[in-house]
């Protein structure tokens, strides 16, 4: 039973193991690395990305792509900062942000499904649009001074004397748990996989393709907006140039976590580890501390390359071992 479980989750286990290896390598090399707070900081610093990557994972599993998310995050920060500056109620701001994000996702999904606009293009237009609105709101950055936001931003949940996490981490982990369950145990979740596997077949099997496809983009919009809110806790400001290229981070995280861009395969847990792996690469680089800017880029890429190649090699080895066993029986 357990063995078969392990077999089915082989790729994600490989990913997690490699993550642990990276962590140990870091700990062995750098002083102060082996510290629970280093790990917790990984979560604190990447909470927003985890949330965004969750939405992205859904979209990718369904066989689409959403490159608007980076702009959505920036937009939500900007928009919230702007409204809060005007004295809006913080809860209303958050709810409105989520609504706008979800609605924007819905519109993109609608164009993608009903008018067959290619996902990349529809969401690229979304990216430009959101970014444009940011600049229209203001080209300067706006601070968030709202006490509720500040409180949430600065609140530390103590796990142990010298270990804490932020509220954002709790939100992110909750999101991971909820969406993992949604993907595995609800009709909607399963339909996402089915559509990603073969949209045509899914339609013939009587699955609500339109509904699911559009929902997936709406969900991604929602996650991006939530990620934006969490990011606004993180920086307590809105700024139009924030999070450029975030979508690539989210996509890369999902793919590193085992999601297939062709659709039909992936998990949110995997994506979370994808985020953490990128985070830890970043941390290692910072701990290294004497890389010039250009070497930083090369080193990040080299570590990423090492990681994905190892991942591939172990997986294919595992596959062939499995096959040999099967043949031997």
């Amino acid at each position: 039973m357990i063995i078969s479980m392990l077999k089915k989750n082989f790729s994600i286990i490989v990913t997690i193991l490699l993550f642990v290896v990276l962590f140990i390598a870091g700990a062995a090399t750098y002083k102060g690395f082996l510290n629970a707070q280093v790990f917790l900081n990984l979560l604190i610093d990447n909470a927003y990305l985890i949330i965004v990557a969750i939405g992205m994972t859904f979209v990718l599993i369904s066989g689409g792509i959403d490159i608007s998310v980076g702009s959505v995050v920036a937009f939500v920060c900007m928009f919230s900062a702007h409204l809060l500056q005007k004295g809006w109620n913080p809860v209303a701001v958050m709810l409105l942000s989520l609504t706008v994000g979800t609605f924007g996702g819905f519109i993109m999904g609608y164009m993608i499904h009903c008018y067959e606009v290619q996902p990349f293009i529809a969401t690229l237009a979304g990216q430009f649009l959101y970014r444009g609105i940011c600049y229209v709101i203001s080209t300067e950055s706006i601070s968030i001074t709202n006490p509720t936001y500040s409180f949430i931003a600065n609140y530390q949940i103590r796990l142990a004397p010298k270990m804490y996490i932020s509220i954002s981490v709790v939100i992110a982990l909750l999101m991971v748990a909820v969406t993992a369950i949604v993907l595995k145990y609800t009709k909607f979740g399963r339909n996402v996989y089915a559509i990603g596997g073969n949209e045509h077949s899914a339609g013939l099997m009587g699955l609500p393709v339109a509904h699911v496809k559009i929902s997936v983009y709406a969900l991604s919009g929602f996650c991006a907006a939530l990620g934006g809110i969490v990011f606004s806790f993180y920086t307590l400001s809105g700024y139009g140039l924030q999070n450029i290229g975030l979508e690539m981070d989210a996509i890369a995280s999902a793919v590193i976590g085992g999601t297939l861009l062709t659709g039909g395969v992936g998990t949110v847990i995997g994506s979370m580890f994808g985020v953490l792996i990128q985070g830890i690469i970043q941390t290692i680089i910072i701990f290294q501390g004497n890389l010039s800017s250009w070497w930083t880029k090369v080193a990040v890429a080299a570590l990423l390359c090492l990681f994905v190649v190892l991942q591939r090699v172990i997986e294919t080895k595992g596959q062939s071992v499995k096959q040999q066993k099967k043949a031997a029986v």
Binding site: E116, V117, Q118, L124, L129, W294, A301, L304
Partner: protein
């Protein structure tokens, strides 16, 4: 007529024509062309000159996308090749008597090597294309900066600077030289596609990998080739870009240009999922994008709203390319046309 509308070139060309018409009405002097220093001078000429790098990238990107892949490293390759070319021209690396020639050779070679690297990761190690090319995308700019030691290379005082400048910004027969490069490359690629089975094989493997493999197509080899071509195009684009500004700016050369290249492919009506493709229409797609950029500058659109304008134009173009959207908008009209077609066909079959 229906043959015409079915052609892949039709909608991109319509988009381009509409943009130009818009300019004819709203932008003063848009079409005015003068002769300055023995060459043509005007917005249209600028568009033809400035579109060159994007057009080259779009050609390479089309082929990669046709196989079901994607190459997001092109921007970094642009930076690398520019860095190499300018460093050699400037005499910072190597000492060659004909710096221009070696600059070009090494720059193009670097693109090919980048392509091989991407191709191996995708075709041999079978890493998903976005992540595979993401690696070079990240590393590439760093490598370019390593080459230039992190500085912007300016070649103003190099001996071959004018020759080098000619490539990206010079004029031949009154027209931008870069335009000729694009045309020649386009012709070669088109010949390669149409006169060999390359095009057929690409479309085949983009349509169905497994079937193609079993039909004897060397899927991996072809993928490798497309990434090499893409790398080469990026290197060539890098040369044009750096030549145009007489310098290599590793930080910004080709930044986010992969998005524009992909966009050009999509505006050209090509599916980003692979399969059927048209290199020519991608080039038109690139022209549409460049025309839009120039329009925005010429019209004096406030910088804050450029993104908004771009978003709206992209969405409009892509919606109008969609049959379903046109049906929804012009439903009535189309319905009549269709039923007329139907009658005609029935008649034909009866007779």
């Amino acid at each position: 007529m229906s043959r015409l509308t079915k052609s892949r070139l039709f909608w991109p060309i319509i988009a381009l024509v509409v943009l130009l018409l818009f300019n004819a009405v709203f932008t003063k002097n848009f079409f005015s062309i003068q002769i300055i220093d023995n060459h043509l001078y005007g917005n249209i000429i600028d568009i033809l000159k400035n579109v060159a790098p994007l057009a080259l990238l779009a050609i390479g990107m089309t082929l990669v996308i046709a196989t079901g892949g994607i190459d997001i490293s092109v921007g970094s390759v642009v930076a690398i090749s520019g860095a190499i070319a300018c460093s050699i021209i400037d005499g910072r690396i190597g000492s060659f008597n004909n710096t221009l020639l070696f600059a070009l050779i090494f720059a193009l070679l670097s693109g090919i090597i980048c392509g091989i690297w991407n191709g191996i990761l995708v075709a041999k190690i079978k890493i998903q294309p976005v992540v595979a090319t993401l690696i070079l995308m990240t590393a590439g700019r760093g490598i370019a900066q390593l080459i230039t030691k992190g500085k912007i290379v300016t070649i103003n005082s190099a001996s071959m600077v004018n020759e080098y400048y000619f490539i990206g910004a010079g004029y031949l027969l009154g027209l931008p030289f870069a335009l000729f490069i694009v045309l020649i490359v386009l012709l070669i690629v088109l010949a390669f596609i149409k006169r060999t089975a390359f095009g057929l094989f690409l479309e085949s493997l983009g349509t169905n990998n497994r079937s193609s493999h079993l039909a004897g197509i060397q899927v991996d080899k072809l993928k490798l080739i497309t990434y090499i071509i893409s790398g080469f195009m990026a290197a060539l684009a890098g040369i044009l870009i750096s030549s145009n500004i007489k310098g290599a700016d590793c930080n910004n050369a080709g930044l986010f240009i992969e998005l524009d290249a992909i966009l050009a492919v999509a505006i050209g009506g090509n599916s980003l999922n692979g399969g059927r493709f048209s290199v020519g229409s991608s080039v038109i797609g690139a022209l549409v994008i460049q025309c839009l950029t120039t329009t925005v500058y010429a019209l004096g659109v406030p910088p804050q709203t450029i993104s908004l304008v771009k978003a709206i134009v992209i969405i409009t173009i892509c919606l109008f390319q969609s049959n379903k959207f046109r049906e929804a908008i012009f439903g009535r009209f189309n319905y009549f046309k269709k039923s007329k077609d139907l009658l005609v066909k029935k008649g034909a079959q009866i007779s």
